[in-house]
Structures are given as C-alpha cells and as structure tokens.
Symmetry: C2
Subunit: 105 residues, 2 copies
DNA sequence: TCGTTATATCGGGAATTACCGATTTAAGTA
DNA sequence: TACTTAAATCGGTAATTCCCGATATAACGA
C-alpha cells in the first residue's frame, strides 16, 4: 500500500466506510479484549472472523466479505494462524486515511 | 441539521463523498473565484450550478443531483438568487463531519 | 403573454452493492 | 484416510447508485 491515495483509492476507502455495519466492526476492534476468548491473544493478532460474525449478527459469508472490504481499504490487517484468520485495526493506515480525508475535505 | 450525527447520517455523508466527482467539486469550491464570472460574487454567495456543471463535464441533471447530494449531506449551502442557485462550501459543517469521521475511525 | 435561461425533478437502463445460502479450500484432529 | 471446523469464494436476487435525456418549474425579459 503506497503512502499516497489517488481519487479512486480514497473513494474505495470511503465506500468501505459508508456502511454502518463495517464502521461498527472497526469500532469494536478498538477493544479486541471484549470479544470471547480465543487461542491466540486478540490484542496481539486480532480477532478471529467467527467472533466478529457473531457480534455483527450477519452470515459467515457476509462477515468475511465485510472484512475483505475493510482489508482492501487498508483499514485492517489479517493474520492467518492455523484455521483462524484474525483481523486487527491497522492504526497507522487508519490515521493516514483520516488525514487524507481531512485534507480532501 | 443537528450537531451530532447518528450512524445513518454519517453513512449518508460518507456515501456522498464516496464518489470522486463529488469530492472534486467540493475541492473546486474552495476557490470560487476560479470559476467564470457571474452576476453575484461567487466568493460571497457561491458558484452557480451552470459553472459547476461545465467544469465537471456532466449533464445538467447529474450536476444538479450531485449538488443535491452534497447539500443533503450538509456539506454545501445553496442560495437561490433570481434564476440561479449558488452553491458554497459549508465550512463549519465540513469541519464537523471531518471531526466525526476522525472520531468514528 | 411568449420565449428564453437556469434549475429541479422524473423515469429508466446499466452498473454496483448488500446480503444470503451453497460450495470450496485450508487446516486441524482422530 | 475420513470428519470437523474456519474461512473464502461462488452464484444469485433485491436494493441502490450512477448518469443520462426528457420534462416540469421558476424567474427573467421583450
């Protein structure tokens, strides 16, 4: 992911955020420890999809797609460990995007 | 427009911005004086739709819809004077939204 | 009043998004 | 190997968005 965003990348990121469910998930990930326990520590590797899905109350495929969208927008990292994919906020990228939005506005 | 934004209002605003053309227009409106002359001073009342449409290179109806979207999102004000509707950035609201996005992220 | 200009709104086709269930892939475990 | 669990991907329907041309409205000017 480059340091600068062009029009389309910015639009893609904003589109990912233009969905209450995805923004909500991003907010939840600020407190990974509030999710049910998992083998790997959520504060380190992130929260596994199952737990995100459960809290969001959507289907498995929808949850997976949501996270893929957020990942494509560069807002979360994904770490596969064993059978689990863990999602964690990419704080640096989020700050970068926030700054970009601030400037674009 | 209230001082706080709920999930849906935030989503609506982000959706309005999730379109390069609309973001571009919002950027142009930072320099109203770079548009062709018009009867009313653009720096005061804003830029008339015609000029926005011309620069954007879209149809009249599309330009009108773009501005209605930005207006609905609270990002611009519209001032009708005679046959012209002038659009101007609502800086206070834009700052408010930017801050909201920063916090939501 | 009639004609013109500026804008808004209507109606629609194409493209995209939202979300789902079904299936596939990947990894663990017996 | 076969069974189970986790996640990704596929295929599809409904809803939404994009952008247009056509039409309606509003305001001006002759």
């Amino acid at each position: 992911m480059p340091d600068t965003l062009d029009d389309k990348e910015l639009a893609a990121a904003l589109k990912a955020l233009a969905n209450p469910a995805r923004v909500r998930i991003l907010g939840w990930l600020k407190e990974p420890e509030t999710f049910p326990p998992q083998l790997e520590p959520a504060t380190e590797v992130g929260v596994c999809l199952k737990h995100i899905q459960a809290r969001a109350g959507v289907s498995q495929s929808t949850a997976s797609q949501y996270m893929a969208d957020l990942h494509a927008a560069g807002l979360v990292t994904s770490t596969r460990i064993g059978q689990w994919t863990h999602y964690r906020r990419d704080e640096a990228q989020i700050r970068r995007l926030a700054e970009h939005i601030r400037l674009a506005l």
